[in-house]
Point group: D2
Chain length 289, copies 4
């Protein structure tokens, strides 16, 4: 059974400076509160002086009713005594995600179809686009589609409009082949994680026309990278990557088509893991449990 189908499952994500006894303290609090640990992943970059990460899934009868009390107990132990950060979530609370798109539909359709099958612990209250093209695709899944044109003159205004739509309504923004660069101000304001998908090659082909240039050097693999968006474009912490094999027979158009197949799978995996609270950011890297 997927975790989010169980009303009494909770997740506790802990991170901070490593020191002896954290696992013991965390599990001690959970046990005292009557929770039973279902799974626990822990990782430390270095036991002396490193960074500590832990994801714990637990079962607690009547979790909703006892949530605040559990949170207070964890706060006392983890924040005040041990100086750690933690997040406590009920597994049944699906993340609310806005999906940003432009004209390409492959990532959007794949996500919406998986949400419809309840494969991803996510709801999609809105699709936002700088083009009108994918309105039917979104609405056919019963999802509102907001068309906000963006050009170099109205970008600040357009982003303000986007932020108004998002504010308080979403826990996540997914850039599903959204072909506009978000400003630093937008990223500061949005207040929720932003996940992007983009093509990747070994080696990278920077700048314009990467598929054309990959073709010209005879690359044998095309890939995709899903990452959290930071102000350094295409440079944020990586969540997931994958590749597909190509050959000299593939035209530039074929490379793009095969790239699209990888993009939708990689984005779907990254979003699924994020919504299951499996991904912990640590500076510019990630721990994926």
């Amino acid at each position: 059974m997927r975790e989010h189908h169980n009303t009494d499952y909770g997740r506790l994500i802990v991170q901070g400076a490593d020191r002896p006894g954290i696992v013991s303290s965390v599990s001690g609090v959970l046990t005292e509160q009557g929770a039973n640990i279902v799974s626990l992943d822990q990782y430390s970059t270095d036991p002396s002086g490193g960074r500590f990460f832990q994801r714990t899934v637990f079962h607690l009868e009547g979790l909703s009713a006892r949530f605040d009390q559990l949170k207070a107990a964890l706060d006392q132990k983890l924040t005040h005594e041990l100086g750690l950060e933690f997040r406590l979530v009920e597994a049944k609370r699906r993340k609310r995600a806005a999906i940003f798109v432009s004209k390409a539909d492959h990532c959007l359709l794949d996500l919406l179809w998986r949400v419809q099958r309840d494969e991803i612990a996510m709801t999609v209250p809105m699709v936002v686009s700088n083009h009108p093209d994918l309105g039917d695709a979104a609405r056919q899944f019963g999802i509102p589609y907001f068309y906000i044109p963006v050009n170099k003159n109205n970008k600040t205004e357009a982003e303000k409009e986007q932020l108004n739509l998002l504010k308080g309504n979403v826990d996540l923004v997914i850039l599903a082949r959204y072909m506009q660069i978000l400003s630093g101000e937008f990223l500061d304001e949005v207040g929720v994680p932003v996940i992007n998908i983009h093509h990747s090659f070994l080696p990278a082909f920077m700048g314009a026309g990467p598929y054309q240039r990959a073709k010209e050097r005879g690359v044998k693999l095309v890939g995709a990278t899903a990452h959290y968006v930071t102000e350094d474009l295409d440079e944020g912490p990586i969540i997931e990557q994958d590749v597909i094999r190509v050959s000299h027979r593939d035209t530039v158009e074929d490379l793009q088509r095969k790239g699209a197949d990888v993009e939708r799978l990689v984005l779907a995996r990254a979003v699924t893991w994020h919504c299951d609270d499996r991904v912990i950011r640590d500076g510019n890297t990630t721990v994926v449990f």
Copy 2:
């Protein structure tokens, strides 16, 4: 740094019937004894009434000297109070493995080369074979080679001779393309895990000439499976699997050659994980942390 290079690292493997509070109890004992948890993986098949598995790596200053005391404390808590099984090992103790071969050298050479680079936490006190062919290969790595011919008349005797060599000298037997079936008696007597590697196909082609028959049906993937040996030939719990892509241009000989490339990688991964105590057997399945 690999775990086995650190003299103060230990590993604790726990398994048994799940019940509330195990993680907390285990980490409590470790903390009380002064150990710091470096990494912890835990998995439960079902939090109510399921099977519980945990692998913990910890650091404890002066581990060798305090090993017996720690073991006694764990025995008290885990065996007597909680009814669980556990194994406690020092990471620096490499597993001692006998490698059994016949005529094919690809798996043997790959393992010996990795051991020489200290990639696998293993020593190889002996290579045992039913053919003389690979003696030079083994001895070039400074490893004794014992040639024990096996035929249908002397099988019982030959296995007795093998058991005499192994008894007390090894923690693991690796069948690296050893083309004889070990008897149930041998497996009962040997007293250490036995890992085997064999080719695999989707779907399987049972019986003789599998590569020929795979070719005749146009298979597009050939693979390999590493597993613990049980009395059901080629049917024990699976440790690792992988595949490689083939085409109609590949002859039966090419399929075997590509299959060999997968075999050596899959076997090396399985053995590495086993020697790092990452693989927990549970009936006919495995948990690989």
Copy 3:
């Protein structure tokens, strides 16, 4: 550019007993008729006494008008002089495919998305099902959906009804998770190739509940196989296969979900190649150019 977007591209598929000079004869006829070879793949199982296969894509100005003349010239040379079989097709003629489904939508939707984007050189004049569930999914793409219930009492009749729908209207039948076994009579009557997709494991788990049994043995890979249907269920010539990695953390439901992701990719590739005339059947095997 995809081949089927070019109105003057043709494909010539030749197969038969190998003998000296076939490539030369075939290319001679094409050149005499004014065609320019765009790509040519040839393969022979054994140059003396083996089977010969060739796929040639060519450009011929005004192909449609000159099709019959070219076909007659090839017939003279290939059939009568060299005793070979051949197929001549215009690349712009998309294959007409009936898609058979039951209740699972993943393969159906993936195919229809790709057809909508013109990624596959195929049209879908009908979806046929033994359940009513996927009617909306098909009709949303503007495709007629025919619901023909099948049970053990009406199977012969139901297949007759299916054959009536297909007769003359399709070039291909795709079983996209159609959970009924087609009778030998149906396969004899249908007169077009039938492609099926099914899950695959290394090793195979025959019979009921394969995912459950794969889980119980700790498999690390689940896969899918697309093949032409013959009277031996799940035993016809293989077109394409692929696998995805799984672990002990995956429940039986997770294995099925991951299996579904592989199934739709493998089926899409197999159908794309079939529609591009890249797959040549040879007894129970295939040559995929």
Copy 4:
């Protein structure tokens, strides 16, 4: 059977500007000379005005004795009439390769094992190194090892010494983790193809410490690229690439170790294909048949 085991097999590689009738002309000459085509791969970047590539394997009784006559006939037709370049080789003639190494042995040993098993149609008359470390490894396979120290003061001289060793003795140079940059003068003088292997990431991490920087961004795949060496370091036409999955648990050292496993497989495939004349260079790209 591998092609190079058959004494009467030849290979003909043709490339040049595409024009109607090339395939027909080539196969016409072969047929006239009594050769039977075993396999033929052809590819054209664009049938009008593109570049044409063809690899043909043929069987000709008594090939050695008739080699010159066949070559003259091809020269007349291909060079003089059609303005194409061609190479004609006897499959039984193994390529002679010098392997350049520094201190890492993984690529060297993998190649030598495969040559010893006759998996690659290659002989290795020498191993050349700027360090003494791998002398035993090479000599244990019976191969001369030439230690030529290189530093910034003696580089010109050292390359001259290397060129003296190579001149006339090899058909190929393989850089199997040779950690010196070859000068433009060396590449101009050497007169044979040079194949290099290097690590690759998605995205690329240029400059020093790529594994460290890949780790810091949380990459999930590490890979390797085999390519022909040109004066643009690490920028020549790509022959083969592959990747392996990694996670946050992998240390920088683990990434390097896994990278090494990919490097040796990718280099072995690239060299095997080169020695089978499957790789055709075309400017900065390749066609791999």
